[in-house]
């Protein structure tokens, strides 16, 4: 363009301009230091939007949010001086973008839901307020409490256990004369047998991310493998057991028994419900989906298969409720959390079994839901799946990514289980070498 010439746009002027910009950085830096503020006293005053109102944030979920909103409204009526402002955000943007920017500007909510992948970071940075005094630990599921504890203190309140299992289509399996698989050999054979041109044998999560790892842990654990050593100091993936779990998922994908990409997360049972697949790995919440969307579909649930001669172990998620230690009104925020999950007569039952399908870590709530949990697929989950379930590990997202990269390598890059395991182990060890903070594996106290 001719005007460029007239303006004498040269590299030199560009370079000069850039240098000038960098020169003025120092000045701007002090401005940012002033307003970004790492002074915690400042932060405390600014946090939570001030006034008497507390912010309560979680990701949006259409089914659950109305009953939480209802409970919050009741709290607000009873506590006009410390009202709660309940806000939800798109799930895939909540944990990353929304929470991070808010906390970076010292504008974090007073009470919020935290994912297992983010939990340890928030604890390490002093954002999490201990919540031990909110509950009587003896009435809670010990594993749920341990999962959110560091040095014997609880830094977040668990409120649900949604274990993962294998859903299958009774009609399809019966027609093919196949029993629901209990061992890995059965699983491989069934997946192969049930794969046709229009139907996949099994659905496992193909897209990288926390959910993929979450649904893979049962296979790792059932094989006897672990992500980290007991003392959380180094990776434990360099074992034949772990390699076999990588190999299994890799094979299911490579052999074409599982879809390589699904339209949405496989936490949605659509592929099974519509008959596009014969089996699907999914969590407890799937029962509700089948009830709402695929009433007429005949399905069953079994434990996640284990290698022959081994016990099946599964996982339960995941989100917990954290109180912001830098918030404007920590005491009230804790009080609200206790009221919502422990004291209120209505909400916890509603949450667990009247409106949704979730086991509670609070024994009393599960007892109150006896009438629901003792029927059909609920019963299978309660009696067979839940007793073998461990809490989702609180590994930070770097480790989640390292494991995910290994899985992806086994599933899509043609790597063997052994190579995938050692790749993941290497990445984890490199991260751990510079990690400082709370132990990643919860320690029993």
């Amino acid at each position: 363009m001719t005007d460029m010439e007239q303006n004498g746009l040269t590299r030199r002027t560009f370079a000069g301009r850039t240098a000038a910009t960098v020169g003025s950085m120092t000045m701007l830096g002090s401005f940012l230091a002033a307003c970004g503020g790492s002074d915690s006293k400042d932060g405390a005053a600014a946090g939570g939007g001030g006034g008497g109102t507390m912010q309560f944030w979680k990701f949006a979920s259409e089914n659950d949010d109305p009953i939480i909103k209802g409970a919050v409204d009741r709290w607000n009526k009873e506590n006009p001086d410390s009202k709660v402002d309940f806000q939800t955000f798109p799930p895939d943007q909540y944990s990353g973008t929304k929470l991070t920017t808010a906390f970076a500007a010292k504008k974090g909510p007073d009470v919020f839901w935290i994912s297992p992948g983010a939990f340890i970071n928030y604890v390490n940075n002093g954002v999490a307020e201990p919540v031990d005094d909110l509950i009587d630990k003896s009435t809670y599921n010990p594993a749920s409490v341990t999962a959110v504890s560091v040095d014997g203190k609880m830094y977040s309140l668990p409120f649900e256990q949604e274990p993962v299992a294998l859903y299958y289509r009774k009609d399809i399996l019966e027609k093919a004369g196949i029993e629901p698989p209990r061992t890995w050999d059965d699983l491989r054979a069934a997946a192969k047998e049930l794969t046709t041109k229009k139907q996949k044998g099994i659905v496992i999560e193909p897209t990288p991310g926390g959910y993929q790892n979450f649904t893979w842990y049962p296979f790792l654990w059932s094989a006897g493998g672990n992500v980290l050593s007991e003392d959380s100091k180094k990776s434990a993936l360099n074992t034949p057991e772990a390699a076999s779990a990588f190999q299994l998922w890799g094979d299911l994908m490579k052999d074409g028994y599982a879809p390589k990409k699904t339209a949405q997360l496989t936490s949605e049972l659509g592929p099974l419900g519509r008959g596009e697949a014969a089996m699907q790995v999914c969590g407890f919440w799937g029962i509700g989906q089948m009830k709402n969307l695929f009433k007429d579909v005949d399905y069953g649930v079994v434990k996640i298969p284990a290698p022959a001669g081994r016990q099946s172990v599964t996982v339960y998620g995941g989100w917990t409720q954290m109180v912001n230690a830098q918030g404007g009104n920590v005491a009230k925020a804790k009080e609200f959390t206790k009221w919502l999950w422990v004291q209120d007569k209505e909400f916890p039952d509603n949450w667990a079994c009247r409106n949704g399908s979730k086991f509670s870590p609070n024994n009393a709530v599960n007892e109150g839901c006896e009438d629901v949990f003792s029927k059909g697929a609920y019963k299978t989950f309660r009696d067979e799946v839940l007793p073998t379930a461990q809490a989702e590990p609180r590994y930070p997202d770097q480790i989640v990514k390292a494991i995910g990269d290994g899985l992806q390598a086994a599933m899509f890059s043609g790597k063997s289980g052994e190579e995938a395991a050692s790749q993941a182990a290497k990445a984890i060890d490199s991260y751990l070498s510079s990690y400082q903070g709370a132990p990643l594996n919860p320690t029993q106290t």
Binding site: M4, S24, L28, K198, P208
Partner: protein
């Protein structure tokens, strides 16, 4: 003002002075509102990002100065360089294809076909849907094995592909989706350029017996050069910042085959809570875009010299 015609050297100087004064006053004055906006809401945040890049900061905790440590780390960060490679492959495939595609469409709607208005609107329409939504639409269309795209390639005897679920085709799929989304936008800009080429040039060439191709080659292309370079520069800068479709469609997978640099930066900042490191990565990305943009601007300038 009347002194303009007087011609005495002294008054002439004063007249220029006044004009200069007004030019400066209005010049700065008109620039000021936008410049303040840019300074506060764009340049200051950029400066902030550069400042943060010299720190170790999780965003939720205390910020610690760590000098050029982040920059040292990124030199050895294979994943970062790999993401740059993927971004480069994407950009250097996407920009030429976008260029050819949008120029082709612009030529097409410039032929006086029936219903040109409808065609023009239809070609521009994908740009009107947000990238998030178009990504969702395409996830469906690219489903394996029975998505629409596989059905259509099946008519021509091709095997169904996994598209987004295969390391070989995932990036290609992303290129297809983003091309679909932005080809109409560039088409409009090309169309404007095309309509401005005097018809007499073509008529003269026709009289000389030039073929359609040679008319395109020797008239259309040279006269479109400034428009072309504008489209190239803007789409280049955009392509190097590819993020939304990756976030919605692939999360960087499978096996990191679509982890572009901005997606990698996003992961570092918002998932791994390494805001300092992510900022350092951004500074390097900015410098790379700057160098390539300068090269393109250089072409602008040389072109003008001819």
């Amino acid at each position: 003002m009347a002194a303009t015609t007087a011609g005495s050297p002294q008054t002439r100087t004063r007249w220029w002075k006044t004009r200069k004064g007004e030019q400066r006053l209005v010049g700065y004055g008109f620039l000021l509102p936008d410049l303040i906006g840019l300074a506060v809401f764009v340049i200051l945040p950029i400066a902030g990002a550069i400042y943060i890049s010299f720190h170790k900061w999780t965003g939720i905790g205390v910020r610690e100065w760590n000098g050029i440590e982040n920059y040292k780390t990124l030199l050895k960060d294979e994943a970062f360089w790999n993401s740059l490679k993927i971004t480069a492959i994407y950009t250097f495939s996407f920009v030429p294809l976008l260029f050819i595609g949008s120029l082709g469409l612009a030529l097409l709607v410039n032929q006086g076909l029936k219903m040109t208005g409808l065609l023009r609107s239809a070609f521009f329409a994908p740009y009107m849907v947000s990238l998030v939504i178009s990504s969702v639409i395409w996830i469906f269309m690219l489903q394996d094995p029975a998505g629409v795209v596989n059905v259509i390639i099946g008519w021509f005897g091709f095997e169904p592909q996994a598209w987004l679920g295969d390391t070989d085709t995932a990036l290609i799929s992303v290129i297809i989706v983003t091309l679909w989304q932005s080809v109409g936008y560039s088409m409009i800009i090309f169309l404007a350029g095309l309509q401005d080429i005097p018809a007499s040039y073509y008529e003269a060439a026709k009289v000389d017996g030039a073929s359609a191709w040679s008319r395109f080659r020797h008239i259309t292309l040279p006269l479109l050069k400034p428009t072309s370079l504008f489209v190239a520069l803007i789409s280049f800068i955009g392509a190097f910042q590819l993020f939304d479709p990756i976030f919605v469609m692939t999360q960087g997978g499978p096996a990191n085959a679509t982890t572009t640099t901005v997606y990698y930066i996003y992961q570092q900042a918002f998932q791994f809570l390494q805001l300092g490191y992510a900022s350092a990565l951004s500074v390097v990305l900015f410098l790379i875009i700057l160098v390539f943009s300068l090269l393109q601007l250089r072409v602008f300038r040389d072109d003008a010299n001819q």
